[in-house]
């Protein structure tokens, strides 16, 4: 019996496991850095718009109409954050921190949107969506799928999603301001009264009649045409 061979094989196998763990960790760290960089970039964009607003007392509505900037970036950030949450877990400190920053950016973008719509007399369609992933809302995932689907079909639709349980004072203030009291999932369309509980896609579409005013994406148009 060559016991040394058994031990050597064990050490090499353990080393391979260790290496795989290390590489996976490094890549996850790269993902976190990527999300953080995107958040910083969005933060600068928002700050720039706000500063411009304060300096001039108004925004160049033409430019805003041509470049509905932040929506796409926030959407991309949301999907990245979702991947990070899946890989690292919802309780990971880094993930929570990034989610908090993301929520703040969403709120700032939401506020900026209000100001822009007021000044430029535009009629944006937006949804404030509140969910929980603490295991107490089994329909939140499905509701999220519906809103993601609508966002794919109507690129002009802005969906701001918030983790109801996030320990962030800005989110708590938003919840208080919107007088959110009922069961989750809950969503608010264009500052109207909150809608509580799960709704099917058809019901959601009825609750957002403004969707008809939004242009659909090319893919969605062709899908609809084929139906």
């Amino acid at each position: 019996m060559a016991w040394k061979r058994y031990i050597l094989a064990f050490c090499i196998t353990a080393a391979i496991f260790g290496t795989a763990f290390y590489i996976a960790q490094r890549i996850d760290a790269g993902r976190i850095a990527d999300i953080r960089a995107t958040e910083e970039s969005i933060s600068i964009d928002i700050l720039s718009s706000e500063t411009q607003f304060e300096l001039l007392g108004h925004l160049d509505c033409k430019i805003i109409a041509e470049n509905p900037v932040l929506s796409d970036e926030l959407n991309s950030l949301a999907s990245r954050l979702s991947v990070a949450e899946e890989n690292l877990g919802a309780t990971n400190k880094e993930v929570i921190n990034l989610k908090e920053q993301y929520s703040l950016l969403e709120i700032k973008d939401y506020l900026l949107l209000q100001q822009i719509s007021e000044k430029c007399h535009s009629k944006p369609v937006f949804v404030l969506y509140f969910y929980s992933n603490a295991g107490d809302c089994k329909d939140c995932g499905r509701m999220g799928q519906e809103l993601s689907y609508l966002r794919e079909i109507y690129p002009g639709l802005r969906v701001y999603s918030f983790d109801y349980n996030l320990d962030l004072s800005a989110v708590k203030t938003l919840i208080a301001l919107q007088k959110l009291q009922g069961p989750l999932p809950a969503f608010i369309v264009n500052n109207r009264a909150p809608v509580y509980g799960f709704k099917t896609l058809d019901e959601v579409e009825k609750l957002i009649p403004e969707l008809k005013t939004l242009a659909t994406s090319t893919a969605a148009t062709s899908t609809k045409a084929s139906n």
Partner: protein, 410 residues
């Protein structure tokens, strides 16, 4: 991490450990290159060909034996017709009439092990070989086996390097890769003195083996596996002659393949139970400490991994279907994310890639050992199909073993 995934990590660790162990063994002692040397002595050899309804292949099998580059006066071919109902006996009789080297024995059907035992009784040669009547030997296979016996007088039996005979259909191509992998690990088991089976196609025994430990047994329809276990139990050494090539026909339908592998797998489980005292027993060297336990663990790991994968796939499909039903979202294709960010780079992904990579290495080493090449189609067939089909025979074998029900030959 869920418990199911934790189990997969354990399976990956064990699989990787085994592959690493074999690769270390390869680096420690590499297979010798085939030489043109001839044996110092040509011992008398009896090749037993147990046959039951083999009319399609027996002529080719006998012809390949007649073509062996071995002195004719030292080689006897004994066909044992085990009560065939087709033209096997007729074809064998014709060969026997034309070639005095061939002897035909007819008996009532009693199973392969009884045919082999009848052959052993009628043989007085120094070496006794077995060749299934659906296999064909390379011309120098016997010479190479005899040369291997000469390397160490303690070797009591030899296994050949087995390849698939003329693989054409997808399942045959898949098995050609599997057999190539087998060539590598059989040679490595030889390095560890822990060969786990003396297969039906062209295993050669010193006749003393049967005098010492007796003939073949029914052994749950895996007499070749049982005699290997018994030889290890008696401390009889088995070696591998990687230069002795034998080609065997393999099942080319899923049903036939599953039936054959169920017999092998169930035989392994039942023989393992019969020889359970050898497990983790250092007295039986690497065979007891590594090969037997790993075989059993690999069986369980295969079943577990397949069950977990099936569970995940079914859960995924069901969840998606229920979501669609509940939400009324029409079926649609979301734009796939192509950036690096969205690529699955979990620890499990890297480990699976490593295990597959090492399997590739083992197959390439098998090719290197036998100086042969497999086609890309064979590799694709293997990596796509094997994982889908193997769980079928593992599950059937486990069920059969639990019910203590004997598996069928064909």
């Amino acid at each position: 991490m869920d418990i199911g995934a934790f189990g997969i990590y354990i399976c990956l660790f064990i699989g990787l450990y085994f592959e690493v162990f074999l690769l270390i063994s390869f680096l420690e002692r590499r297979p010798e290159v085939k030489s043109a040397a001839t044996p110092k002595r040509y011992p008398s050899v009896s090749i037993l060909v147990p046959s039951f309804n083999e009319e399609k292949t027996i002529a080719g099998t006998l012809q390949s034996l007649l073509d062996l580059t071995y002195p004719k006066d030292k080689l006897e071919i004994v066909v044992i017709n085990d009560g065939s109902k087709d033209k096997t006996a007729e074809i064998a009789a014709r060969f026997a009439a034309e070639h005095p080297q061939i002897k035909l024995l007819n008996k009532e059907n009693g199973g392969k092990y009884t045919a082999l035992n009848v052959g052993i009784e009628h043989s007085s040669a120094e070496l006794i070989g077995c060749l299934d009547a659906d296999s064909f030997v390379a011309k120098d296979a016997l010479v190479e086996a005899v040369k291997q016996f000469e390397t160490d007088s303690s070797i009591m039996a030899i296994t050949p390097a087995m390849k698939v005979y003329q693989p054409r259909k997808v399942l045959e191509l898949m098995q050609s890769v599997e057999y190539m992998f087998g060539i590598f690990y059989k040679k490595m088991f030889d390095n560890l003195s822990a060969i786990n089976v003396l297969p039906g196609p062209f295993s050669i025994y010193k006749s003393d083996v049967f005098r010492k430990i007796g003939g073949f047994k029914h052994a749950h329809n895996t007499e070749d596996m049982e005699i290997t276990f018994r030889m290890h139990a008696h401390g009889l050494r088995i070696a591998n002659a990687h230069t002795a090539l034998v080609y065997t026909t393999v099942p080319n339908t899923v049903a036939a393949l599953v039936k054959q592998r169920t017999r092998w797998s169930q035989g392994f489980l039942q023989n393992s139970r019969d020889y359970s005292y050898m497990f983790f027993n250092p007295r039986f060297g690497n065979f007891g400490m590594l090969v037997l336990p790993f075989g059993l663990i690999a069986f369980c790991a295969g079943l577990y991994t397949a069950s977990y994968a099936l569970y995940r796939a079914v859960s995924f499909v069901l969840t998606r279907a229920l979501d669609m039903f509940a939400t009324h979202i029409p079926p649609h294709l979301s734009t796939p994310h192509l950036q690096w960010f969205y690529i699955n780079t979990s620890m499990m992904t890297f480990l699976v890639i490593t295990v597959l990579g090492m399997t590739f290495v083992a197959i390439f080493l098998g090719q290197h050992i036998t100086k042969s090449r497999l086609s890309i189609t064979s590799f694709v067939s293997y990596f796509v199909l094997f994982g889908l089909i193997a769980p079928l025979w593992l599950a059937r074998a486990a069920w059969g073993a639990l019910r203590a029900q004997e598996s069928a030959w064909r």
